[in-house]
């Protein structure tokens, strides 16, 4: 962070270089930091401030192709169609990426969605957060089948073609890892919103309702829980209450208008709107219907919530009402006092977002924010709030209220009930402190 700031200071507020411009996107800083490192290694003696421009010319950001930039695009014939071989790439000027957690094994690790940089409500498929426990498998859909057995009338397997032949549903919903924001229980830890809240993404999923599939196997009377199993090296397993499966679960094969991305479960993923991410089994290969839960590793040893008295909660599956301000947020810099539009996301696993409030004084007073898209069940909502910053220190907060009446708790409310060691399901109100110099940082109030 300090290196980051220093670099900007060296670059100076001299104009185009100023990171304070362009909506104060932290991704510029992140990207610049990466480029600085690579460029610094290549040109050891070069002054740090000159390095970014040098490196930016050489490499295209992930997902982009580098083209020469004409001085005047109206004076030069452009590229022909299909030069991309029929699958488009993003602009070479768009640099936001997922960032990786610092973990010993990348096969059981995670990446964060750049929440402050995404546009609109949906997360581009290539920026959807990841969490895998045994790496990303490569699966040939022609050889992949979904088995459904246990307390059914006819145990069956389904090919991908058979699943696609059934009536489908397309809907938007968020997926949030229940470990999102887990470093914030005891003290402010994450430096920016990508790291504090980036295990959250929103997608338009397409798939077959489990209830539709169930007609082709028949459910027995005592069916109560279903084990969902993935075809990855973790052979990930979770027990899901049959009520959830029958109400809105999808056997999904589509993500934002195309097939699922490999890291999101290609070719099949279980979508359970509003449930913790780990239950939404990727690379789905098997559903075993039972009369009781299986007590797998991920629902006992992990993804259980340890309380102060030493007892732990099982099956806390719904994601709580939560919100976060993405602009301005940690590591950003407001160039000067003036008018700003505060922006953020709100979501709840228990239905629609009903309202979002914003506080400019650390939670003493609250005012309603504007909702920028129509709330849908178990989906994110963007909110905004016009703010005139007078240049004095301020503490910005947002709180989500869902249609069931759940209100996002303050830190002290949450901790008084859960303690600080429950790891998962942290949904307390996030505070960003704006200092008089315009710098924004993560604080606890």
């Amino acid at each position: 962070m300090s290196l980051n700031r220093n670099t900007e200071a060296t670059a100076g507020p001299s104009g185009d270089d100023c990171p304070c411009k362009d909506g104060m996107k932290p991704h510029l800083e992140l990207d610049r930091r990466k480029l600085i490192f690579s460029a610094a290694a290549a040109t050891a003696a070069a002054p740090l401030a000159a390095a970014p421009a040098l490196a930016e010319k050489k490499t295209a950001p992930p997902g982009a192709v580098l083209y020469d930039v004409p001085d005047d695009p109206t004076k030069e014939m452009g590229r022909g169609v299909h030069e991309d071989n029929g699958y488009g790439t993003r602009s070479q000027f768009e640099t936001e990426v997922r960032v990786k957690a610092d973990r010993p094994l990348d096969a059981t690790s995670w990446t964060y969605t750049p929440l402050a940089a995404t546009i609109g409500n949906l997360t581009p498929s290539g920026l959807h957060f990841e969490r895998h426990h045994g790496g990303i498998p490569t699966i040939d859909p022609a050889r992949h089948e979904l088995y459904v057995h246990g307390l059914v009338d006819i145990a069956k397997k389904f090919t991908i073609a058979e699943i696609k032949s059934l009536p489908s549903v397309t809907r938007r919903c968020f997926i949030e890892c229940s470990g999102n924001t887990l470093d914030e229980w005891s003290k402010p830890t994450g430096k920016n919103v990508q790291v504090t809240h980036g295990l959250l993404s929103t997608t338009e999923w397409t798939g077959v309702p489990f209830a539709t599939l169930a007609r082709h196997v028949g459910l027995q009377e005592n069916a109560a829980w279903v084990l969902a199993e993935g075809a990855d090296a973790a052979v990930m397993t979770r027990s899901i209450p049959i009520g959830k499966l029958m109400s809105d679960a999808l056997i999904a094969y589509g993500q934002n208008g195309e097939a699922l991305r490999p890291e999101q479960g290609y070719p099949l993923r279980l979508i359970l709107p509003g449930f913790e991410g780990n239950t939404q089994i990727k690379w789905l290969r098997r559903l075993q219907v039972s009369d009781r839960p299986f007590m797998t590793h991920e629902e006992t040893a992990a993804y259980t919530d340890l309380l102060k008295d030493g007892r732990a909660k099982l099956f806390t599956l719904e994601m709580d009402a939560k919100s976060v301000i993405t602009f301005p947020s940690g590591e950003m810099m407001l160039p000067k006092p003036g008018h700003y539009l505060i922006k953020g996301f709100a979501w709840s696993g228990r239905g629609r977002v009903y309202a979002v409030d914003v506080s400019l004084d650390g939670g003493k007073t609250w005012a309603p924010a504007r909702l920028d898209n129509v709330p849908e069940p178990m989906s994110t909502v963007r909110f905004s709030y016009p703010w005139h910053w007078d240049g004095k220190p301020a503490i910005l907060q947002s709180r989500c209220i869902d249609e069931a009446g759940n209100v996002q708790p303050t830190r002290s409310e949450l901790i008084s009930v859960r303690g600080v060691n429950s790891v998962y399901h942290y949904n307390a109100i996030q505070s960003w402190a704006v200092a008089s110099d315009g710098s924004v940082s993560n604080v606890h109030v």
């Binding site: 010993p104 090296a233 797998t296 732990a312 060691n421």
Partner: protein, 192 residues
């Protein structure tokens, strides 16, 4: 009139397949599978009913552990941070303290989960490569280091399901509403 009725019958007849699709069961899609085909899968529930044949002891498990697990989980099951392998024993009595240590010994409610998980996905660098005998032996070793079973105990389908974990009673169903969030400070509420 009879022609009209005939027409109605004909229309109904044509609609029939479509209507039956809208019913509650329609077993037309998918291929039925035999229990032999399903035998390639497993999931062990706490009752241990689907534990496979085989057996193992802590002594056998110690040797397999040294070769296949210790480089990630540590010689003494203490875990190796840089290798990514978590701690597998210790921490009993720590769960209600400021520094809880969650391990197989201190935290896990069911021994069935240990067998299922090791068989399913360990060793991390060679997932799915262990035989049931090896998994029984490794489970026996980990449970005996955690002083949950005697180090002479032979683990098999019968004995494993009887193992009682130290924290077996430490969990409760948290799926309901979190009523604690709705407590009102006692001093602030005069009348009951």
């Amino acid at each position: 009139m009879s022609t009209f009725r005939g027409l109605c019958t004909a229309i109904l007849f044509c609609l029939w397949p479509a209507l039956s699709h809208a019913g509650n069961t329609d077993a037309s899609v998918g291929t039925p599978v035999s229990s032999e085909e399903l035998a390639k899968f497993f999931a062990i529930q706490p009752d241990g009913a689907t534990l496979p044949p085989g057996q193992g002891t802590a002594a056998a498990g110690r040797e397999i552990y040294a070769q296949r697990c210790a480089h990630c989980h540590g010689e003494h099951l203490e875990g190796i941070k840089e290798a990514g392998g978590p701690v597998l024993a210790g921490g009993r009595g720590s769960l209600a303290t400021d520094r809880p240590l969650k391990s197989v010994e201190s935290y896990w409610p069911h021994a069935s989960t240990l067998f299922d998980y090791i068989w399913r996905t360990m060793p991390f660098d060679q997932p799915g490569s262990l035989t049931p005998d090896e998994v029984y032996a490794l489970s026996a070793y980990i449970l005996s280091v955690g002083k949950i079973i005697d180090d002479k105990q032979v683990l098999d389908a019968k004995t494993l399901r009887k193992v009682v974990m130290p924290n077996a009673k430490g969990f409760f169903d948290g799926s309901g509403p979190e009523l604690d969030m709705y407590r009102i400070n006692q001093s602030a509420s005069p009348a009951k």
